[in-house]
């Protein structure tokens, strides 16, 4: 068996960083990353981006050396992706914050509101309902992170955790402050508004969960295969007929429900910002589905049926 030689250069400076000889032609990029890590311990595999071209796209860990357009002496380029953190860690932190912070406002922990309100509870039952819904939402997200989601990438750049946590923690504190405020005003249309809102919220929570399960089942454990998602026997997944990312559709729906339930402008604002971000993600996902699968259903829109 003919062995390959692999030299790894820095993508920016073109300096020779590493030379590997007697490399098995069937080695994967993942294995090469492990070898590179040995000679440069500060660059663990997750923060390595290996490419064929200094400015090109990153090669996948599963790519096999002899299948790449390289000679028996392969030149690869390395770029440092920066400190990495696992997706699971990020999700747990960014969702754990809102769960705890909201409860602090709900229980009126000292130093938030006027001292005379410390540890009191609201007299409006919608405030208790809102706390249950908000907490349920984030507990669901935490459990999904631990048991449902299958992540394509193991890690993301470290700075994302600061950005993401600021967003989630900041917004949930801002919303929680007003909903649990002693001077909170319940919805204008009373019981009916809250009941409608609750139905919308629960419907969308179940819908969102159904989509997460359907997406998980698309991909067997340990696999990174990519397939077109289709409706299943679960009626909540029938939204796949009209939309590429029904999980985002349901998520927006949940927050619309929560806005209606609390009649709180900061919540409306959070819903709007979330919608804009998810719309951007949905458009991207939709575009990559269209690019990857020639038989992708034409009826589907990214996030809102027939609209967006």
């Amino acid at each position: 068996m003919k062995h390959y030689e692999v030299e790894i250069l820095c993508a920016k400076t073109k300096d020779k960083l590493c030379f590997l000889d007697k490399v098995d032609p069937n080695s994967t990029i993942g294995e090469i990353k492990a070898m590179f890590h040995k000679s440069h311990p500060q660059w663990y595999p997750a923060r390595q981006s290996i490419r064929l071209d200094a400015k090109g796209k990153s090669l996948k860990d599963e790519d096999i050396l002899q299948n790449l357009p390289v000679g028996t002496t392969a030149t690869l380029y390395f770029r440092d992706l920066g400190a990495q953190i696992s997706w699971v860690t990020v999700f747990l932190t960014e969702y754990g914050g809102p769960l705890l912070l909201y409860l602090m406002f709900y229980f009126r922990v000292p130093f938030i509101y006027n001292t005379k309100y410390d540890f009191t509870t609201s007299k409006h039952w919608v405030v208790h309902l809102a706390c249950m819904c908000h907490s349920f939402h984030y507990v669901k997200r935490l459990l999904e992170t631990l048991f449902v989601h299958r992540f394509s990438h193991g890690t993301m750049p470290l700075r994302n955790i600061f950005k993401n946590c600021t967003y989630y923690w900041g917004f949930s504190a801002w919303m929680a402050y007003y909903i649990n405020h002693p001077l909170y005003t319940p919805p204008a249309y009373g019981e009916q508004q809250v009941q409608l809102a609750l139905i919308i919220f629960l419907f969308c929570q179940i819908g969102n969960f159904s989509i997460h399960i359907a997406l998980r089942n698309l991909r067997p454990p340990g696999s990174k295969a990519r397939k077109i998602p289709y409706p299943t026997k679960n009626p909540f997944t029938w939204l796949f007929l009209l939309v590429s990312c029904p999980n985002y559709t349901y998520e927006v729906g949940s927050w619309v429900g929560f806005t209606l339930m609390t009649q709180c402008l900061p919540v409306a604002f959070f819903t709007l910002v979330g919608f804009i971000q998810m719309m951007i993600w949905a458009k991207g996902k939709h575009r990559s589905y269209l690019k990857e699968f020639r038989d992708y259903p034409r009826l589907r829109s990214p996030i809102l049926p027939f609209m967006l």
């Binding site: 770029r79 007003y178 909903i179 909170y184 709180c264």
Partner: protein
């Protein structure tokens, strides 16, 4: 940060490319930049004349306020120039810069009349005027493919003085406005209300002032880096992201 500065070198290349491909865009941008140069020059002349005639800065803001509001508000167009790809600059950077100017003009000096005669107002008006005249004439000459070195020199050197001066003027003005905002409760909403929201303009202004702390050094050092690149042709090895 109100002194609008952008990445001149990338713009130059892009402007050169565009000139050969998009005559209407170039024509419009040239007209726009000439008009803005002229507008800020009119402002400069009006301020100088006022000071020479009256010998004091009191009443100066009032005398130029309409012209200032017109030309500064018109600058909102620059956001669209970026959004439509007519100018190669980030929409967000331009947006932040123009909005901070709009904020200063409409939400501070226009809305809080009692501070219009503060010295700090003249401070930032002078800084803005010199900066904008330099900036718009830089763009104009670049578009006309005939950039005199002294304009390039001015754009990449005057900011070293003008930027801190402008920031000082803005911060001092906002600081002076605080007591009047507190007393009048302007632009503020209190609980309880139907939409369960509150907004305290006084606190908002304090947050705006605090935001200068992280933002000003970033923008200033960005301009310093641009300066080294453009004036001294230094090859900068960029920090890996």
């Amino acid at each position: 940060m109100a002194s609008s500065e952008e990445d001149g070198s990338a713009e130059d290349k892009e402007n050169n490319k565009k000139k050969t491909k998009r005559p209407f865009v170039t024509a419009w941008l040239t007209i726009y930049n000439i008009a803005m140069t002229a507008g800020w020059m009119v402002l400069a002349v009006a301020m100088i004349r006022f000071y020479i005639q009256k010998g004091t800065h009191k009443g100066l803001y009032k005398s130029i306020s309409r012209t200032l509001k017109f030309f500064q508000t018109f600058a909102l167009l620059e956001i669209f120039h970026c959004a439509f790809g007519m100018v190669r600059t980030s929409v967000i950077v331009t947006g932040v810069q123009v909005c901070s100017r709009i904020f200063m003009v409409w939400f501070v000096t226009h809305s809080i009349k009692q501070i219009q005669n503060e010295e700090s107002v003249v401070l930032f008006l002078v800084a803005w005027t010199v900066t904008e005249i330099t900036r718009y004439s830089f763009y104009t000459f670049s578009l006309l493919n005939h950039l005199p070195y002294f304009i390039k020199w001015a754009r990449y050197n005057l900011f070293i003085v003008l930027y801190p001066v402008g920031v000082a003027g803005e911060l001092l003005t906002i600081y002076a406005a605080l007591p009047y905002v507190r007393k009048s409760g302007m632009l503020s909403v209190r609980l309880p209300n139907k939409y369960n929201v509150s907004f305290d303009y006084y606190i908002c202004l304090i947050i705006v002032m605090l935001s200068y702390i992280p933002l000003f050094p970033q923008l200033f050092f960005h301009m310093l880096r641009q300066r080294r690149k453009v004036l001294h042709g230094e090859v900068m090895v960029e920090k890996e992201d």
